[in-house]
């Protein structure tokens, strides 16, 4: 009986540790509300760690072009992401037009993009750490010269 308890404790402990590890990079949140022609709600929340892991399984041939283009800008992207991570929360860009509002902000450890239109609302929140790992993965898949 005690042995069974220990095994159960081990399984639960491993599961908790696994979930903790998976969520350690934060969560990617995507929320889309369509109002026209019909009302649709899409809400996806996923561990951010899955994004760079998923990149490993993407076909290299498909990524190589994007990777080659991003390579020269990697020092700039790294510097920007490092600074964003350390900076206070800030609205980086905000565009307002009649019937349209776009906002890109740094909130907590995430980059948040909000788009509000007459017929659609989109909210995307991605942890900076996940963006960083994904971009590094993408750059690493560039063909070596």
């Amino acid at each position: 009986m005690i042995l069974l308890g220990k095994v159960a404790l081990g399984i639960v402990g491993t599961a908790v540790a696994g979930v903790g590890l998976l969520c350690s990079d934060g969560m990617v949140e995507v929320k889309v509300v369509e109002r026209h022609p019909e009302v649709h709600h899409v809400y996806v929340i996923a561990p951010a760690m899955l994004v760079p892991i998923g990149m490993r399984f993407a076909p290299r041939r498909e990524l190589s072009h994007a990777a080659a283009q991003i390579q020269p800008w990697m020092p700039t992207i790294r510097a920007a992401l490092d600074q964003l991570r350390e900076s206070d929360d800030v609205t980086l860009v905000e565009v307002k037009q009649p019937g349209e509002h776009v906002r890109v902000a740094k909130e907590g450890g995430s980059i948040v993009v909000d788009v509000e239109e007459k017929d659609e609302t989109v909210h995307v929140s991605t942890p900076i750490r996940a963006i960083s790992s994904t971009v590094e993965q993408l750059a690493a898949s560039a063909p070596s010269i």
């Binding site: 020092p75 700039t76 790294r78 510097a79 920007a80 490092d82 600074q83 964003l84 350390e86 900076s87 206070d88 929360d89 800030v90 609205t91 980086l92 860009v93 905000e94 565009v95 307002k96 037009q97 009649p98």
Partner: protein, 189 residues
């Protein structure tokens, strides 16, 4: 006596702990704000960039005339005007009005005032107003590089971040209003 001494020591320790975060925290972040408003279209664009971020990013960009935070100026682009010599002359000159042009519909004024270079342009025909105020410290920083045909933009951003709150540029015409300024607020409002 020992109790009193202990009390004093405890008080000192607690005071140090209470004030340490404030003492350790560096100066607050400063932001470069750009705001463009078009009243006729009801549009507005706000951009807020932490200056520390701009300062770190700039040296990593190597494209066109921008290299390692320095901008190269070709003599051909400046119509053989020595921009460094010009800025240096303004820097060392006392407060003064350097250029005043008055025409029927246009006023242009370039001056040095209270440690700033000030440029005012008024175009009555088009209803345009342009005001530029650049702290001299920023001009000094621009010229701090050793090479003659270069301006140190990174150093200028550092200087801007050390300077106080400043309204740098305003451009107004009949419908549009552009403002560029620096302060410690993380929003444009």
């Amino acid at each position: 006596m020992r109790k009193q001494l202990c009390g004093i020591v405890m008080f000192c320790v607690l005071s140090a702990v209470a004030t340490a975060p404030a003492a350790l925290a560096g100066p607050g972040e400063r932001y470069l704000h750009v705001k463009v408003e078009d009243a006729t279209k009801g549009e507005s664009v706000n951009v807020n960039v932490p200056l520390s971020m701009a300062e770190k990013i700039l040296p990593t960009v190597n494209k066109g005339n921008l290299h390692n935070g320095h901008v190269s100026i070709g003599s051909a682009e400046m119509n053989d005007v020595d921009i460094r010599a010009l800025l240096d002359a303004v820097r060392t000159a006392p407060d003064n009005e350097f250029v005043t042009v008055k025409e029927k519909d246009q006023d242009v004024r370039v001056a040095k005032s209270n440690g700033n270079i000030v440029i005012h342009v008024r175009d009555g025909a088009k209803g345009e107003k342009v005001d530029v105020t650049v702290p001299m410290k920023v001009v000094d920083a621009l010229l701090s590089t050793a090479k003659d045909n270069e301006l140190d933009v990174s150093a200028a951003i550092r200087a801007l971040s050390d300077a106080g709150d400043a309204l740098l540029i305003t451009v107004e015409d009949a419908s549009q209003h552009v403002r560029i300024w620096v302060d410690s607020k993380n929003g444009s409002e």
